[in-house]
């Protein structure tokens, strides 16, 4: 036996309590892993998008449409090399809760702007030829069991009714953060399907010189400032970051929940260690009697607490990593969602800190225990 063996033996003393405590730590760190990953995924999402593409949306907000006529004026702006536009569609396939994003795009100009849309099945020509054709991400094919060539019917929400699409191509983005559960289809189909009521949701522009993005954006906004549809123009990256902020201060919310969970589990863990130490005061007194010093006793109790926290924490974190590895349920909302190595490392550090903090008081009390009075209590 070694002193490490003594720590393990003490953990086995009350197996039910040790397992329950470890499970509560595990659940807390599973939650931490998931919540932290929401933040890291949102942070990654703000990085998605090109600095070389500009987005012009309505100055009143993304839900307000812009006149198609803006396109010609945008194309004439000095520094703009090409213009396209897109709309949010917002339909669903069978289950309204099974969310995925669809975009109506001005395909002939939009697709060339996006090298991220790498066709891996079907063909772009087939897509371009057909009015109600669609390009879908490989993730969507897997999610719904679709195949290229298949006809699918989506149910519209604000553009009510059933909408039939023929899947003519599938894409697989090189950067997972772009998302592989998106669907693109022709703006013209959307426009006709809404009795020509719809107009572009936002314009996308490529620039001749990306360094001039700020200057060009200012020029565009100034140009439409007095029009019936003033614009807000920014780089695509900033536009995407704006989308993320539409979730509200989710970072703060998630951090607040994470902190609350951490402290709750800290109290649970500390209480468990206090109980564990209290019920073996006599044994600690015996260890001291046979020559175990204060520091060693402190270390033994602290090691016990740290083992519970780190083992429980590691279990929770790796469970979260396993549960959200590869394709997962949150990909539709958070493209590329997964528990990163950084989150695991941070979680393990927090688990270690939890072990130290929750074990410090009982370890200190054990180290300071008066053997004579402890033996009197036991006797």
């Amino acid at each position: 036996m070694t002193t490490t063996g003594l720590v393990w033996a003490n953990l086995r003393r009350n197996k039910k309590r040790t397992i329950l405590t470890m499970l509560s730590v595990m659940v807390a760190f599973f939650l931490f892993g998931v919540l932290r990953s929401v933040i890291t995924t949102l942070d990654a999402a703000t990085e998605v998008g090109s600095e070389g593409r500009l987005i012009s949306s309505s100055a009143s907000g993304i839900t307000f449409l812009l006149p198609e006529a803006h396109a010609n004026r945008l194309a004439a702006v000095d520094g703009v090399s090409s213009v396209s536009w897109a709309n949010w569609f917002g339909a669903y396939y069978r289950d309204p809760n099974d969310f995925f994003a669809q975009f109506a795009i001005k395909a002939d100009t939009y697709i060339p702007m996006y090298p991220e849309i790498v066709i891996t099945a079907g063909s772009m020509d087939d897509f371009m030829r057909e009015r109600n054709a669609a390009i879908v991400g490989v993730g969507l094919l897997r999610k719904f069991g679709w195949q290229v060539g298949q006809k699918v019917t989506l149910t519209g929400t604000f553009a009510a009714g059933d909408w039939d699409f023929n899947i003519r191509a599938a894409y697989d983005p090189p950067d997972p953060a772009f998302g592989d559960e998106l669907m693109f289809f022709h703006y013209e189909y959307f426009w006709e399907g809404t009795n020509r009521q719809v107009t572009p949701g936002w314009f996308v522009m490529t620039l001749e010189e990306p360094d001039r993005a700020a200057e060009v954006a200012s020029t565009i906004d100034a140009m439409f400032k007095s029009s019936v549809a003033p614009t807000k123009t920014q780089t695509e990256k900033a536009f995407n970051a704006g989308f993320v902020t539409m979730w509200g201060n989710i970072g703060f919310l998630v951090s607040a929940i994470g902190t609350a969970v951490f402290f709750a589990i800290l109290f649970v863990s500390a209480n468990t260690m206090m109980m564990a130490v209290r019920e073996r005061i006599g044994e600690i007194a015996v260890l001291k009697t046979v020559g175990f010093g204060d520091r060693l006793i402190f270390g033994l109790v602290l090691a016990e607490s740290m083992l519970i926290s780190v083992l429980g924490g590691a279990l929770g974190l790796f469970l979260a990593r396993g549960a959200f590895a590869g394709r997962n349920a949150l990909n539709a909302f958070f493209p590329g969602f997964g528990v990163t190595g950084g989150t695991i490392a941070l979680g393990l550090a927090m688990a270690l800190a939890l072990g130290v903090v929750s074990g410090a008081v009982p370890a200190f009390q054990s180290a300071r225990l008066s053997v004579a009075s402890a033996l009197r209590q036991v006797g």
Binding site: R13, V286, L287, K288, T289, V290, G291, G293, V371
Partner: protein, 241 residues
């Protein structure tokens, strides 16, 4: 005879005396109970010679366990000095005391105080974890100690699988495994039936006779005390023969 008035008290007959192993001089201990100061003992003097087997009797609260704890370095006196094998125990800090206890003191408790999560062998091994002995050497020491107490066939049993007498024998094996300078017993038969108690007393006698261990036994039991070479009595903080 009051301990404050006494000359240094020696426990055994002059002919049997070895060198003085333990010297207790002018020892005083008080407790605070609220505003009141409780005098446990005052001016206690005692010499214990190497190889002696001494019993210390007295009613509850007489201070005998407190004296034992101070001798073991588990409690601090308010005044006086305890020298064991040439070392002033009362001058040591807690770190020094812990290290000193691991090699000089073998303590036998009334309620055995074995760790329930450890086997008999692991309980006996505890003091050796603080030494530089390797695993194999530790095992040899443990097996020898368990053999001395007659439990070499119970090494892998947990305390709850042993009778009270067997548990106390494991406790004794733990007390002797590091070959301490002195063995201190605090009512080691107090929780045992007469047969088991008798076995323990026989074992202590054997440790003293065969292995020349110096033993100080605190007990209420006159029958247990009679098995020692000499009996000291403590009553209301006064030590007498």
């Amino acid at each position: 005879m009051s301990s404050t008035e006494s000359a240094t008290m020696s426990a055994s007959a002059p002919a049997a005396k070895g060198r003085v192993l333990v010297q207790i001089r002018d020892l005083a201990k008080n407790y605070r109970r609220g505003a009141e100061t409780v005098h446990v003992f005052e001016g206690v003097n005692l010499d214990i010679h190497e190889g002696e087997y001494l019993a210390l009797m007295g009613p509850s609260g007489s201070g005998k366990s407190t004296l034992l704890n101070i001798l073991a370095g588990l409690d601090k006196p308010d005044r006086g000095k305890v020298v064991v094998d040439g070392k002033d125990v009362t001058a040591m800090n807690s770190r020094q005391l812990a290290a000193w206890r691991s090699t000089h003191i073998g303590f036998i408790f009334q309620f055995y105080n074995l760790l329930p999560v450890l086997t008999a062998a692991q309980n006996v091994e505890l003091p050796l974890l603080l030494t530089n002995l390797g695993k194999k050497q530790r095992r040899e020491h443990v097996m020898h100690a368990l053999d001395v107490v007659g439990l070499s066939d119970r090494t892998e049993h947990f305390p709850k699988q042993l009778s009270g007498g067997q548990q106390q024998r494991v406790g004794i094996a733990r007390a002797i495994v590091s070959d301490p300078t002195i063995i201190l017993g605090d009512e080691p038969t107090g929780d045992l039936d007469s047969v088991s108690g008798d076995e323990i007393l026989t074992l202590l006698e054997r440790l003293n006779r065969e292995f020349k261990k110096t033993i100080l036994l605190v007990t209420h039991d006159a029958h247990a005390a009679e098995r020692a070479q000499a009996i000291m009595r403590m009553d209301k903080g006064v030590l007498s023969r």
